[in-house]
Symmetry: C2
Subunit: 114 residues, 2 copies
């Protein structure tokens, strides 16, 4: 998608602070971090929202969560704890319309979650 920020990162046109890449996804530090560790996990394929996941996207959510768990270990926040967040559409707080998972840790996360 030509005008999608995350597609530009996947294509290498914009260079985020990358922490992981594989054939399915990229993961990088959020530019407006809300915790000491705040990383976004983004599938390479453009999918606008969680509502738009199709049959051919089977497995992508599992891969995203699996990557987040691996990164949590690498970043040293697995034992202390972390929060995973996915926002869908406006009331959910979605701002970039290319699905992504937030991994937050390194501080106690409050409740409610926004």
């Amino acid at each position: 998608m030509k005008d999608c920020l995350f597609c530009k990162m996947v294509a290498g046109e914009i260079k985020p602070d990358m922490v992981m890449q594989n054939d399915q996804l990229i993961a990088f530090r959020d530019i407006n971090p809300q915790a000491a560790t705040h990383i976004l996990v983004v599938p390479r394929r453009h999918i606008s929202t969680l509502n738009d996941l199709a049959q051919e996207d089977a497995g992508i959510i599992e891969s995203m969560v699996s990557a987040a768990r691996t990164i949590a270990h690498q970043q040293g926040i697995a034992a202390s704890g972390y929060r995973l967040v996915m926002n869908c559409n406006q009331a959910g707080g979605q701002t970039v319309y290319h699905i992504h998972l937030h991994l937050l840790g390194g501080r106690p996360m409050g409740w409610p979650p926004g």
Copy 2:
């Protein structure tokens, strides 16, 4: 697990306000709702934390998110928007040590997410 609240719900010993059940999971309204719609999606199998997911649990996260998406549609919050949250360990805000996914919607969700 004998002393696990969610295992007791899976076993039918405690009856939550159920919104969905299938062979892999149950979903019910949170007793301390943080939004007009606040539903928990819980796998039948006892898995303490996201860190404890094993090879044999492959597919469970995908099923949980898929159920949450279906429920969001059924509850009429798919188009307006919703947030999915999973907490791991203390700093993540996990209180019941049987993995679960929070589905929240029906109000604008704020940022940061806790």
